[in-house]
């Protein structure tokens, strides 16, 4: 299954947030959207996931809009940066929320939740109350929830993360990307919005560099993360090194206009 965006533009009122975006999101691949604040990364993620609807988004050449909300929810899972959940749900109950779009039996749902708990090692958290957990623990539970949403058809699933590592410490970041790699290995398409170029470069198969709603560069991390691209996108002077074939950026100074 391939998610295709062809000549996609998106505007709110008269403001053009995305213009002429052409990308395709493939199974078993990790794609990261990078770029400065306000470049349209999150908007692009929302358009691609169907949360915002725009013409030109197709799933296997059928318009994404043709899917019912429930049908889409069975294939597409989306994790926002932070959750607003402030009711004292048990972690186990939060995981079960991922099964809402499905009409599967209770036994099947319990099996899926159990499998997700095992694969993310959430067993210590299941009986805890969500509102009493730390940021990192909440994040793990939320990731578990969206995995429960697409676990039974993971090889044809699209999983979207909006700045998933923003509030995570180093260990949690690494653990998060282990999960992402595991999902991709099982055939899921992963799309991420990341602020940290080095994380994006290290863990992505493909990078999409956005500026002012346009694609500035697209390709492998080596092709996208270059001095020139970083300068054009972020207006900073940066050094680019390479560590085991992955580029690393060190920003040195802001370019004054």
């Amino acid at each position: 299954m391939t998610l295709q965006l062809r000549e996609v533009s998106f505007r709110i009122d008269s403001k053009l947030l995305l213009s002429n975006i052409n990308i395709s999101i493939q199974p078993a691949k990790i794609v990261s959207f990078i770029g400065p604040n306000g470049a349209g990364k999150t908007t692009l993620l929302r358009v691609a996931s169907g949360a915002l609807s725009a013409p030109g988004v197709t799933l296997d050449s059928k318009p994404l809009k043709a899917l019912t909300p429930e049908g889409r929810a069975r294939k597409f899972a989306f994790l926002n940066q932070s959750s607003e959940l402030n009711f004292p749900f048990k972690c186990l109950e939060v995981l079960h929320l991922g099964r809402i779009p499905h009409r599967t039996s209770r036994r099947c749902n319990e099996r899926i939740v159990e499998e997700v708990i095992n694969s993310l090692s959430l067993d210590k958290l299941v009986d805890r109350i969500y509102t009493t957990m730390s940021g990192g623990e909440k994040q793990r539970v939320q990731i578990g929830r969206i995995l429960c949403q697409v676990w039974d058809n993971i090889d044809s699933a699209f999983v979207f993360f909006d700045e998933p590592t923003a509030e995570l410490d180093l260990a949690h970041q690494l653990r998060f990307f282990d999960t992402v790699k595991m999902l991709a290995a099982r055939g899921a398409s992963i799309s991420l919005v990341l602020h940290d170029i080095n994380l994006a470069s290290r863990f992505s198969d493909e990078l999409i560099l956005l500026k002012s709603g346009k694609i500035l560069a697209i390709g492998s991390p080596r092709e996208v993360v270059t001095r020139a691209n970083i300068r054009d996108a972020f207006s900073v002077q940066a050094e680019v090194h390479h560590l085991s074939c992955r580029p690393i950026v060190q920003a040195n100074s802001v370019i004054k206009d």
Binding site: S49, A51, T68, P69, E70, G71, R72, A73, R74, F76, A77, F78, N80, S83, E84, L85, N86, F87, P88, F89, K90, E93, L97, G98, I100, P101, T131, Q149
Partner: protein
């Protein structure tokens, strides 16, 4: 459902039935429990006792249970919809909006058509309007505190308008308008019960939205990604809760804090999924209002304390306690 949860549900139902029987027996005139069962079976023909049980106490008990259940279940659903454990139909102005429209009906139209249905309908309109207004404020500003503040303003406006109405109304009207400000079950009769019997249907309809309400507690964007059509869910919940609350207001006046406190107690003891919270809140809300009303009419018998005063006296401090305990984690 776990065994633990099932036991708690059974306990709730048991207490509800037991307290109903107790409430039938106590009051200005005591009726023994064997006499109650005799009257209920129709085998007892003591006119006075049968009148007290069948025409006074039984409708009043049913009304307390229905209205308490309706307010508490609505509170649970509204808290889920607004993603705020502190939302309450009375707190955000729905009840007072309904009361104002009810009072308007009584003073201006009720002179010509003294019909209970018109009163209920008018209260429903008021409740619906205020819910939509509060929701719109919340949507524009995007914060829950804006919504609660709007509720404070609506409450003040409604109380002021009801006060103004009291200047232009006759003595009889004044008495019924004043009755709203306090909330009382004293006017219960079988006609009230016929209207109130809509409430169990509304509670069932709310229960059917449980999974979608669970989804929306994660946030509206998350609910969309779980395949929930947030807009239509919001319309359904608003209509259903406005109807339940307005029926309650039309029949008993404004009863505060049941809608806030009860879902909270349920979450504390039985968990937060709406599959549990809505039916358990209904049962506990019915039970609490019944207990409060029984206390209200026996404490100072033969006079009685309007039940709204009791729920406010108990619920108010509890609410302050909740706010202090939450230490800013409630998102307001």
């Amino acid at each position: 459902m776990s065994i633990n949860k099932a036991v708690k549900f059974i306990l709730l139902i048991f207490f509800l039935v037991a307290w109903s029987v107790f409430s039938l027996s106590v009051g200005a005139a005591k009726v023994s429990i064997p006499d109650i069962f005799a009257v209920l079976q129709g085998s007892k023909v003591d006119n006075l006792q049968s009148l007290i049980i069948m025409e006074l106490r039984l409708p009043r008990i049913l009304l307390a249970i229905f209205v308490g259940a309706g307010i508490a279940a609505s509170g649970a659903a509204i808290q889920g919809l607004f993603r705020n454990p502190l939302a309450d139909p009375a707190l955000i102005g729905v009840s007072s909006g309904a009361a104002l429209f009810g009072a308007l009906y009584l003073v201006f139209i009720g002179v010509f058509f003294q019909a209970l249905y018109g009163l209920a309908l008018s209260a429903f309109l008021g409740g619906l309007l205020t819910t939509c207004l509060v929701l719109e404020v919340g949507r524009r500003d995007g914060t829950i505190s804006a919504m609660l503040l709007a509720g404070v303003a609506i409450n003040a406006i409604a109380v002021a308008c009801i006060g103004l109405l009291s200047y232009i109304s006759s003595d009889v009207q004044l008495r019924s308008v004043a009755f709203w400000a306090l909330g009382s079950l004293g006017s219960a009769d079988w006609n009230n019960i016929y209207i109130a019997s809509l409430i169990p249907l509304i509670i069932i309809a709310l229960s059917l939205e449980s999974a979608r309400l669970n989804a929306i507690t994660l946030g509206e964007a998350e609910a969309l990604h779980l395949g929930v059509s947030v807009r239509s869910l919001r319309v359904r919940i608003i209509l259903l809760t406005a109807l339940a609350v307005s029926i309650g207001v039309a029949l008993t006046g404004v009863i505060v804090f049941i809608g806030l406190v009860v879902p909270h107690l349920v979450r504390l003891t039985m968990g937060s999924t709406h599959q549990t919270v809505i039916p358990a809140s209904a049962l506990l809300g019915g039970l609490l209002l019944l207990v409060a009303d029984t206390a209200g009419r026996t404490l100072v018998a033969p006079a009685e304390v309007p039940v709204g005063i009791l729920t406010a006296l108990i619920g108010g401090p509890f609410f302050v306690f909740l706010i202090m305990r939450s230490k800013g984690s409630l998102g307001i």
